[in-house]
């Protein structure tokens, strides 16, 4: 009898709280998006699963001694996992299109306005009762506008760990929704004639340029923004491994097995922050709303910047590639290509959009560094 009672008390049914049930449904929702809708499945699948695991009553998976607790504190609280992933992303990135057309860096810069406008917006949301974002919170939220997962997680883990779950969910969800969010904005801000603009073929880029480029980026980050060097440094290390051509076996492992392992653990660890207390509040709604705003403003800024540049440039620039400046590599570049093809079936913008696309990654890392330096 006593044993039966003990058995009953050790079931989940006897210990559930409403918040946990809701958060498990949120986790299932993330799994649905990942599996059925193919929304950034590499991260949302482990993250959704982690959300379910962390909300299991009395299992202690996220408490001291539990697996998710170890993963979070060893890998995310320390910043190690996002930095290792950023190294892998660097090793996957080809800066060729950017070096061939360096002006596109300005598009990647303009799109970061999505970040800083959102910072302002987050502070403005403090006028809503029940929401109280500190400047650190606002900075962490704004980085969603960078459309770059590891950067967002790294900054959030530094500035507002208690918001990490909501920020990561927003960042990856909106990144997956880039093909839905961006096209209407792109069409609204451009004329058909502008969308039809064909761009000149890119010049070939030499090996030496590709090798020196990441070192140059790192040097500039060292001179002007040391706070960005963890992110920029690991990214450039990955890229240098890729381009140097002398450590292919390391580059390959970084792009494959290492990033795969860390992605699973990162997803589980981020999911472990999706507890009811941390997620089920009006602040999360605010974060989700701000995220959508951030992506929209970033997209618009990129497109408008491209239109401005087009006025001053002899070589024509299709304004659609400005939208790729938000990063979300390579989705945003594909979207630019697709919208371009609608207007002109012979207009292949993919390679041209890769320039602002990877510029956006650098731009977000720089913006992250500024936030860490001035707010952190």
């Amino acid at each position: 009898m006593d044993s039966l009672n003990k058995l009953w008390l050790s079931t989940g049914l006897a210990n559930f709280e409403l918040g946990q049930v809701i958060m498990m449904l949120v986790g299932c929702g993330l799994l649905y998006l990942a599996i059925a809708r193919n929304f950034e499945p590499l991260l949302l699948l482990p993250m959704g699963f982690g959300a379910i695991l962390t909300n299991i009553p009395i299992s202690g998976l996220s408490e001291i001694g539990g697996l998710l607790h170890y993963i979070y504190y060893a890998g995310i609280d320390t910043g190690i996992f996002p930095l290792l992933i950023f190294m892998g992303v660097g090793a996957m990135t080809d800066f060729g299109a950017l070096i061939a057309n360096p002006k596109t860096l300005l598009l990647g810069a303009a799109a970061q306005f999505g970040i800083f406008a959102t910072l302002f917006g987050a502070i403005a949301l403090n006028m809503v009762p029940g929401i109280e974002f500190s400047l650190k919170d606002a900075a962490a939220i704004s980085i969603i506008g960078g459309a770059d997962g590891p950067t967002a997680i790294f900054v959030a883990s530094r500035l507002a760990p208690e918001l990490l779950g909501a920020i990561a969910v927003a960042a990856y969800s909106y990144m997956a929704m880039v093909p839905i969010i961006q096209p209407p904005i792109m069409r609204a801000l451009t004329t058909v004639e502008e969308r039809k603009i064909e761009m000149a073929q890119l010049r070939p880029v030499t090996k030496i340029e590709k090798i020196i480029f990441p070192l140059g980026v790192l040097m500039m980050a060292i001179f002007f923004l040391p706070a960005a060097t963890p992110l920029v440094g690991m990214f450039c290390l990955g890229n240098l491994m890729r381009e140097s051509g002398v450590v292919d076996r390391l580059s390959s492992t970084v792009q494959n097995e290492l990033i795969n392992i860390v992605t699973i653990l990162l997803g589980l660890g981020v999911g472990s922050k999706l507890s009811a207390e941390a997620f089920l509040n009006v602040q999360t709604l605010g974060i989700l709303a701000l995220g959508a705003v951030a992506f929209s403003i970033g997209t618009a800024s990129g497109v408008l910047m491209a239109k401005v540049m087009n006025k001053f440039s002899k070589i024509p620039i299709n304004p659609l590639i400005g939208a790729a400046g938000v990063s979300a590599v390579p989705m945003a570049a594909r979207v630019a290509n697709k919208v371009g093809l609608e207007a002109n079936p012979h207009n292949f913008l993919l390679m041209h959009a890769m320039g602002p696309n990877v510029a956006g990654v650098l731009g977000s890392a720089v913006a992250a560094g500024i936030l860490l330096a001035l707010v952190g």
Partner: protein
């Protein structure tokens, strides 16, 4: 409401400082590409055969040459099996 104003001021300053900084940083990168890299690319042009070599190299697993012996072995087998199946075809007579 004083604190609110102050927060807005801080946020506005951050926005301004941040956007200026981002633009300056990436503009300097443009200059870096147009000067340093441009000079380097002239001074150290790619060898002519490099293009194809590089394109192969990016296939990660294959790059280390780890797979190739296995693949070659399998292919040899496949090709010889293929040839055996066609042992009666005219082409065999050329052997």
């Amino acid at each position: 409401m004083n604190s609110m104003e102050q927060q807005f001021l801080e946020a506005g300053t951050l926005m301004l400082a941040g956007m200026v900084f981002v633009f300056v940083f990436l503009s300097l990168l443009i200059i870096f590409i147009n000067t340093v890299l441009a000079k380097l690319s002239i001074k150290f042009p790619d060898p002519i055969t490099l293009n194809t070599a590089r394109s192969n190299k990016k296939n990660n697993k294959a790059a280390n040459g780890e797979i190739s012996p296995a693949i070659v072995a399998v292919i040899s087998g496949a090709v010889s099996r293929y040839r055996k199946q066609h042992a009666s075809s005219p082409q065999k007579s050329t052997k």
